[in-house]
């Protein structure tokens, strides 16, 4: 008998059942169902593995360090790192006694970048040991926001993304 036709018959009662997963006469699982089940399971495993490897790739990758002068509009939403010096006294905005945001102006010699931290993140930075002051060299990463107004901003998402650099004695 044709092999393809045989696969469309119930393996238990031998009746023609077509492409169904369970025989309507004897309720046995068909050959099609077994194959489908394996394919589904395999696809599920492959998908989880694929996303897992993508995660590992992202996890093991360093955030790219950019020069402020190179930042362009197409870099909007990019995760980036910048190293530079704080050129003005940090501005801390408070609403009802709570810190709503912290703003730093950073210069790396190629341009100026506004670095922002909001709410709890700003509080953690201000309250922690890493709070930079005017003239400090910092290394900061976060999400870039390059709007059409031309002034790029870097938003710090967790307090650990900002750190003071220790300058070597001259």
């Amino acid at each position: 008998m044709n092999k393809e036709l045989a696969e469309l018959e119930c393996r238990s009662c031998g009746r023609y059942v077509g492409l169904v997963s369970r025989c309507p006469y004897c309720d046995a699982v068909t050959a099609v169902a077994v194959m489908q089940r394996r394919m589904k399971l395999l696809s599920l495993i492959l998908v989880v593995a694929g996303v897992g490897f993508l995660y590992l790739m992202t996890f093991s990758r360093d955030v790219q360090t950019l020069e402020i002068g190179d930042i362009r509009p197409v870099m909007n939403y990019a995760s980036a790192r910048v190293a530079g010096r704080v050129v003005r006294r940090p501005y801390i905005s408070r609403t009802d006694g709570n810190i709503s945001y912290l703003s730093l102006l950073v210069d790396d010699g190629t341009g100026l970048l506004r670095v922002l931290a909001r709410n709890d993140v700003a509080f953690e930075i201000v309250d922690g040991d890493n709070m930079p002051g005017k003239g400090d060299s910092i290394n900061v990463s976060g999400r870039l926001s390059v709007n059409g107004d031309g002034a790029p901003k870097l938003q710090v998402l967790v307090a650990g993304q900002i750190s003071k650099m220790v300058e070597e004695p001259k």
Partner: protein, 406 residues
């Protein structure tokens, strides 16, 4: 009376609005390619060629994008109504347009939908073009503190409504439990995997920094476009013959009902997600190189939307005829799929590089799960919904830090 320069501006706006509509008409001929993919490429072109030239962005890109969006909304009805089969989730309960298609009333449904679209544009102009728009800002302010729980409720509803679908009655025990949880479980896995992918793309996208403004394009291509393409090659669908004529049945009641439902749904979308009004959709693509400047821009976009709406509705009937002819001649050929593959490859190569292709691959795997297991594809929207909901609840960065992404 308009001065010379202003007159020229008006002409440019009209030309590019109409051009956008024509471009959208071409785009809908390429199956499964979404408009935002093209917007991403056009944005890249704008930045490369125009740079900071505000005149170009303001006078050319905005009306072109408005024309594209309106044109796509109108013309996309043609393939979605006439050339689409009900997916697995709708086999037992076809949607009204699918029922019409089965009964051979596809063309009439198309025209009704177009009329509804035109009415929608008219209502949009009434809302945004007159003082009524001041109430929108107030409503947004009131609702802004509630967005997070609304989105979580939406996610819960989406996942809980994924019930058992096999319809096979099995004896109690593990088999029954497995059967009951199969659809819900796969829906949940699809949602969580796509949500995880969304977190990766939101917080530590592996794409080159110069492609960051369209981080989500490869994921959306992988989740929705490529699986549809694969399935359309595996399972061919023959639609019934659709007469190119309208019957005489009065449909004003249907039209009114559809219009009211559409307007209520559309206005709700403006508020509910919190991203739609301020930073969603096409604004996400263009805000890297454009910030609205004054009321001039606002009214210019409204004008472009009106012109594009009128053009699209005028072109709908002849364009439908062209599509009818085209699909008859290309039936069974691989032309649309080949065109689609070329567009996808170009988009991925030009815009996102090797990492973009990896994201497309991973996302394709997730996008195929609903099709293989017979659950709804809407679960793939976890790629946007899960990170957005976490961010709105104020825990997005914390979760990303737990995952080691920050």
């Amino acid at each position: 009376m308009l001065l010379g320069g202003e007159m020229l501006d008006v002409v440019v706006v009209i030309i590019f609005s109409v051009l956008g509509v024509l471009l959208a008409a071409l785009l809908v001929c390429v199956p499964r390619v979404h408009l935002y993919t093209l917007l991403g490429v056009l944005s890249l072109a704008t930045v490369s060629f125009a740079g900071d030239e505000r005149v170009v962005v303001q006078g050319v890109t905005l009306p072109l994008f408005a024309g594209l969006i309106v044109g796509y909304a109108v013309f996309n009805m043609i393939p979605s109504i006439l050339l689409s089969a009900a997916d697995e989730s709708a086999l037992l309960a076809p949607l009204p347009d699918e029922q019409s298609l089965i009964k051979g009333r596809g063309y009439k449904t198309l025209m009704l939908s177009a009329l509804g679209g035109l009415a929608g544009i008219l209502i949009l102009l009434i809302i945004f073009g007159f003082p009524l728009r001041y109430f929108l800002g107030f409503t947004l302010e009131v609702l802004s503190t509630h967005f997070h729980w609304i989105v979580w409720c939406m996610i819960c509803f989406m996942l809980m409504s994924e019930g058992a679908q096999s319809g096979i009655i099995v004896a109690g025990g593990w088999g029954k439990l497995f059967d009951a949880w199969q659809s819900t479980g796969v829906g949940l896995i699809t949602f969580l995997l796509s949500g995880f992918l969304g977190f990766i793309l939101f917080y530590a996208a592996p794409l080159p920094v110069v492609s960051s403004f369209q981080n989500f394009v490869p994921a959306l291509i992988g989740l929705f476009t490529v699986p549809s393409l694969i399935m359309s090659r595996i399972g061919r669908f023959e639609s019934s013959v659709q007469p190119y004529s309208l019957d005489s049945t009065d449909s004003s009641g249907v039209l009114l009902k559809g219009m009211v439902t559409g307007v209520v749904g559309g206005v709700m979308l403006l508020f509910l997600l919190g991203v739609a009004m301020i930073s969603g959709g096409a604004t996400t693509v263009i805000n890297g190189f454009y910030v609205p400047f004054a009321k001039h821009d606002y009214y210019m976009v409204l004008a472009a939307v009106s012109i594009a709406g009128a053009t699209a509705c005028l072109l709908l009937r002849p364009f439908t005829k062209v599509i009818f002819t085209f699909t008859d001649k290309s039936k069974g050929s691989g032309i649309p799929v080949a065109a689609c593959v070329v567009v996808l490859v170009v988009v991925i190569l030009v815009a996102t590089g090797g990492a973009g292709r990896l994201v497309v691959l991973a996302a394709t795997g997730i996008g195929l799960l609903p099709l293989l297991f017979g659950v709804r594809r809407v679960n793939c929207l976890g790629v946007i919904l899960l990170p957005s909901a976490c961010m709105m609840s104020g825990c997005g960065a914390t979760v990303a830090a737990w995952l080691g992404l920050l």
